[in-house]
């Protein structure tokens, strides 16, 4: 089952955000990085895929299924979307909020299996020591890790992460993206991560989509997309790619 988008159009009032946005079949078990400058339409594209915003034209297909034929609730069971921000002034513990995601609005009772799943998720995310902390006490980075844990505890066909590493230090950026990539592969799910850091995108993603002003400029392997001549102009910088010590792509960006 693959994920593809055709000719998506979306505008806030008169401002066009998505302009015939289209991408081709994203494969199960693959992690795709959605890259592009600020305000290029990454978050809007995620919301449209998740069904939280209705496009004025175009379709999103999961396999043969047009996702628009599903109710929002049914669609969100198949497409798990992690928004960029969450309000953190609630008297809820980390365990509570991950449990909430696990229950996914269904059923009153919390079973032993639910508890074990949440315990395991927090343990493997390395935030077990925060389990009983209120979310209002967390740092921005810790809150982001909780958000990722909330997304990964849900079972879905498609996972969308909106900048999951923006508040994290170097070590945790690697940890979190590593965990997302390995989970996506292990579950055979389709994963898309919006990222600003092209080096992280090159390192963790199997596939890149470059977005500018609501249009997909390029799609393909990191090797292909990062070597495209228009990538520098898209970001308004000079870009130079080298091969790092571990045979990985290293992106150097500079301004004149």
């Amino acid at each position: 089952m693959t994920l593809s988008a055709r000719e998506l159009r979306f505008a806030y009032d008169q401002r066009t955000i998505l302009n015939e946005t289209a991408f081709e079949a994203l494969q199960p078990g693959q992690l795709t990085a959605l890259i592009g400058p600020n305000a290029s339409g990454k978050s809007t594209l995620f919301r449209v895929i998740a069904g939280l915003l209705k496009p004025s034209a175009g379709q999103v297909h999961l396999g043969d299924l047009d996702l628009a034929t599903l109710s929002t609730r049914a669609r969100l069971k198949r497409v798990c979307f992690m928004p960029q921000f969450f309000a953190a002034n609630a008297s809820l513990t980390v365990f509570d909020v991950v449990m909430m995601a696990r229950k996914n609005l269904a059923g009153w009772k919390v079973s032993a299996a639910d508890m074990d799943a949440v315990g395991e998720a927090l343990h493997s995310a390395g935030i077990g020591h925060l389990s009983e902390a209120y979310i209002s006490e967390l740092s921005g980075g810790q809150a982001q890790m909780v958000s990722v844990a909330q997304a990964l505890i849900r079972q879905a066909d498609v996972y969308l992460f909106d900048e999951p590493t923006s508040a994290l230090d170097l070590r945790h950026q690697l940890d979190v993206l590593g965990q997302i990539a390995s989970t996506i592969r292990a579950r055979g799910a389709i994963g898309i991560v919006a990222l600003h850091d092209l080096n992280l995108a090159a390192r963790f993603a199997d596939h890149l989509i470059l977005l500018r002003q609501g249009q997909v400029l390029a799609q393909g392997s990191p090797q292909e997309v990062l070597h495209r001549p228009e990538i520098g102009a898209t970001y308004g910088v000079g870009i130079h790619i080298t091969i790092g010590p571990k045979e990985d792509l290293v992106v150097h960006a500079y301004t004149s």
């Binding site: 309000a87 609630a90 008297s91 909430m100 996914n104 609005l105 343990h123 390395g126 077990g128 209120y134």
Partner: protein
């Protein structure tokens, strides 16, 4: 993957900590329920009439042994008052809890959003002008007017939420605008009122349980039994809403519809409560705050405890209203404000870090 210098906790240890917290929460809810039973009992056995504890219990258990005087005092006066305190307290606690939840604001409650002021204005229309919003209601004129105006204010708030792009902050501001509007209108009526009408009006506004009767208790119980189970059935969605609209929507919550339905329930609860007992401040504000501190905002615990805390506060206040000066029963609204304000301030000062940063 591990963070910082903390030793990694095993999944079992994490679950163990959660289980201990849950057990502690259940204990605290049970304790609150026990405390409520105690206050109800004290409320029933105390009062200006000199009846012994055992005799009172005997009359409750076996009404046939009562003299006419005892029957009137215990069955027609004390029991409805004690139960009304519990039910109205629970209604205000639940209404406050859910208003705070859907509006994402710790200061939201039926009182601060103008629903009580609207009710007072409705009562004033009846007392001063003899005007009835709903014709031919006879002796229930004041109550029906208070109810109708309170519901009208809710509907205005309700209609406002239907406007596109209205934020919870804007809704709070509309509520506060209504509060001042109704207070101003009330002042106009007070200015033109006779001394007798003024006294009647002030007494109504102070809030009193003395007007409790069995049918009123019955209506309150029915309303609570309709609204509370609905709120409980939406527990996860309401908990998710506390993480922000975006997060709740991503989990599949229809945020606009949820807000609307909950506001409808809250309006019904507060309109009925306020029209029967008058404006009682702080119960809807303090009850949920106590619940939040004790069990957090997982609505499965937060909602029942908000109801219990509201009931406990009003039941306790009912006892206090009789105990301050022997032989006199003070209007309950006076006491809730008097006890409520210092308590509320100390609560905010002691908890400012954790809750509603």
């Amino acid at each position: 993957m591990s963070t910082d210098t903390h030793p990694p906790l095993s999944a079992g240890e994490i679950v163990g900590a959660y289980r201990r917290r849950t057990a502690r929460r259940v204990m605290l809810v049970l304790l609150a329920a026990l405390a409520l039973c105690t206050t109800i009992l004290i409320d029933i056995v105390t009062g200006p009439a000199d009846l012994s504890f055992l005799r009172t219990l005997h009359v409750i258990v076996d009404p046939s042994v009562a003299t006419i005087k005892e029957e009137v005092i215990i069955w027609d006066l004390r029991l409805p008052v004690a139960l009304m305190a519990v039910v109205v307290g629970a209604m205000l606690g639940v209404a406050g809890a859910e208003m705070q939840t859907i509006l994402n604001n710790p200061l939201a409650d039926p009182f601060t959003l103008g629903l009580s002021s609207a009710a007072s204005f409705g009562a004033a229309l009846a007392i001063v002008l003899g005007f009835s919003v709903i014709p031919s209601v006879g002796g229930l004129l004041v109550t029906v007017n208070a109810f109708a105006l309170s519901l009208l204010a809710s509907l205005a708030l309700f209609a406002f939420t239907r406007l596109r792009g209205v934020t919870p902050e804007a809704m709070i501001l509309v509520g506060i605008a209504m509060l001042f509007t109704f207070n101003a209108l009330l002042a106009f009526l007070q200015y033109g009122a006779s001394e007798l009408q003024l006294a009647q009006l002030i007494f109504w506004q102070l809030g009193s349980l003395a007007r409790a009767t069995w049918p009123k208790v019955g209506i309150c119980v029915v309303v609570l039994l309709i609204v509370l189970p609905y709120f409980l059935s939406r527990s996860w969605a309401l908990t998710a809403l506390r993480m922000g609209e975006d997060k709740a929507a991503a989990l599949g919550v229809n945020v606009a519809l949820l807000r609307l339905m909950v506001l409808a329930g809250v309006s019904l609860l507060s309109a009925v409560a306020v029209s029967f007992v008058g404006a009682i401040a702080f119960v809807g504000l303090v009850g949920p705050h106590i619940a939040r501190i004790i069990v957090g905002e997982d609505q499965r615990g937060f909602l029942p405890l908000s109801a219990l805390a509201g009931a406990l506060i009003l039941s306790g206040t009912s006892i206090a209203s009789k105990a301050i000066t022997p032989g006199i029963v003070y209007p309950i609204g006076m006491i809730t404000s008097l006890i409520g304000i210092p308590f509320f301030v100390s609560l905010i000062l002691s908890q400012r870090k954790r809750h509603w940063q």
